[in-house]
Amino acid sequence: MMENPPALALQDLSKRFGRIQAVDHLSLEVEPGQMAGFLGPNGAGKSTTLYMIPRLVRPSGGRLRIFGVDIWKDYKKAIRSVGITVESPAFYEYLSGRKNLELAARLRDEVSPREIDEILQRIGLAERQHDRVRVYSTGMKQRLGVGRAMLGRPRLLILDEPTNGMDPEGTHEVLSFLRQQVRQAGLTVFVSSHLMSEVEEFCDTVFVINRGRLVASGRVKELLKPHERIVRVTFQGRIPDADFLSRHQQIRKAESVTADTLEITLERDDSAWLNQCLQQAGFRVSALAPKQKTLKEFFLSITGPRRAEGPPSINQPPSAPAGPETPPGQTPATPGGDQSHV
């Protein structure tokens, strides 16, 4: 066994439901002590992948290790270090929030009533702990789901859309708490989410899947490196007209963002040349900066338009992982499912 094995390692993991290949030779590794985002459009295979971790779904092929332990060889040992919620957390609605945690705690070693108290405090449900789950809001159930996953002090937390139904304040609180646990307690968090801003703000690394395959992965900072070829220029006074711009072959296109700002796409990374060119032509440039990419833009550039949604059909080749917008240094995977990391 490796000395410092990945917290979660999927190797050629596949799952086929009849004619549908839900997960297609997916390989990824989540390093310990990181908060990793797991992104993909609807039907990309995220939930199926997460379902395979606690063996709720049997893989058609591949291996799955948690801290180096193969879940099909020693499930109990592997899963003891994991707290997991898959899809919206379900509870015994006729029981109180606390009783639900107590039932879950009974199946994990060394969970004291005090630990349950602490968790209820952390997730903000201490005052409502004796209410039946039936009367909880969706957000409260989500928080209880996170609390249940944290029972027994797991080293790896796997959460599927943990902030669904939460208000912005609750979302921020929960994710900040998880982030704090990652920093201070060395917890590893693997979180799937539709909310790009959440992932962008809180995650260290991100894995993007589409049609069951990994199409990109890497550190968020690297993935969101500014576009060097797309430059936002803010002018004081007059702005360049189409005639001026068309005279320069280095300028591929220019779009107006506001009355005084243009987004100019260059043929190559040379914003210094653009600045000089504009100055020489008498334009007063008040600001010039490479365009900052958002995770949402990156995600869309990787997964493509909505046609990417839905289960893939057999023999249909995967969509091109990245279009011409994909900046160099970012990590679109090859269509064969192999992927390079940043």
Partner: protein, 265 residues
């Protein structure tokens, strides 16, 4: 690593204790016992000649229909309710093997069957002592069965009654595994139980269906109560074999399905 069976059973019992259905089952059985008490004498005066006969008659009536219905409803909901609501995912995301959870559910089903059976026996016995005496059984020639003998046979009959009822629990659990909606599982459990009972004579399958033995031990007790000759063997061996095989087959089939199925919806 140690088995999680004990905490799983505790969890299952704790959950069941917070539901209304188990209590309603006990209440319904009690109510039926009271109804039997008021109409029993008119229905079968020979069977209710003494307390032993009354208990045998009352138990036979309870477990002809109502008792098995509550047992199968309880068993049919054990897995289906959790797969229907999604709580099974949380239960299996713990360090628990699927077979352990299935076994815990089977044990809980058996436990409820025993509780319901004990409640029926207690209600029946309590009502019996209002009019009858648990004394020796005799005829004009004297004592046929002493009080101790009759009590022993009651205990044996009561214990034997768990065997076909246990097979019924396993059948309900299989239905619960096959059908993921609790309502549909309950409906399927009850309807197939009745369908089998109504048609087994017509198609000549009666000797091979375990449900024929659900009231068998109490019929024997009725014979004892009337001072008639009785013998458990060899019929009891046939009962144990048929019910044992049925329980084993249904339990194994349910377990294999439960362990192998994908629980992603």
């Amino acid at each position: 690593m140690s088995s999680q069976l004990a905490p799983l059973v505790r969890n299952e019992v704790a959950k069941a204790a917070r539901r209304k259905l188990p209590y309603f089952g006990i209440f319904a059985v009690g109510l039926l016992c009271v109804i039997i008490y008021f109409v029993g004498g008119q229905l079968n005066s020979t069977a209710t000649a003494n307390a032993w006969g009354y208990v045998g008659f009352s138990m036979q009536m309870v477990f002809t229909d109502l008792g098995p219905i509550f047992i199968i409803v309880f068993a049919a909901m054990l897995v289906a309710e959790e797969t229907g609501t999604g709580t099974i995912r949380a239960a299996l995301a713990a360090p628990v093997h699927r077979w352990e959870l299935y076994l815990a559910k089977a044990v809980t089903g058996l436990f409820y069957m025993m509780v319901l059976s004990a409640a029926a026996l207690l209600f029946s016995a309590a009502l019996a002592v209002i009019h009858y005496h648990f004394g020796a059984v005799g005829d004009s020639l004297g004592v046929v069965y002493s009080r101790k003998q009759a009590l022993q046979e009651l205990a044996v009959g009561y214990a034997l009654s768990w065997i076909p009822l246990g097979a019924l629990v396993m059948y309900g659990l299989l239905i619960s595994t096959l059908i993921r909606s609790p309502g549909a599982a309950v409906a399927a459990g009850i309807s197939t139980l009745f369908l089998i009972d109504f048609t087994k004579h017509l198609v000549g399958l009666d000797p091979y269906i375990f449900t024929r033995y659900i009231t068998y031990p109490w019929l024997n007790l009725l014979q004892i109560a009337q001072g008639m000759d009785y013998q458990w063997r060899p019929e009891v061996w046939r009962m144990m074999t048929l019910c044992g095989v049925s329980a084993f087959v249904t339990f194994s089939a349910g377990l294999i399905l439960f362990v192998r199925e994908d629980l992603n919806h």
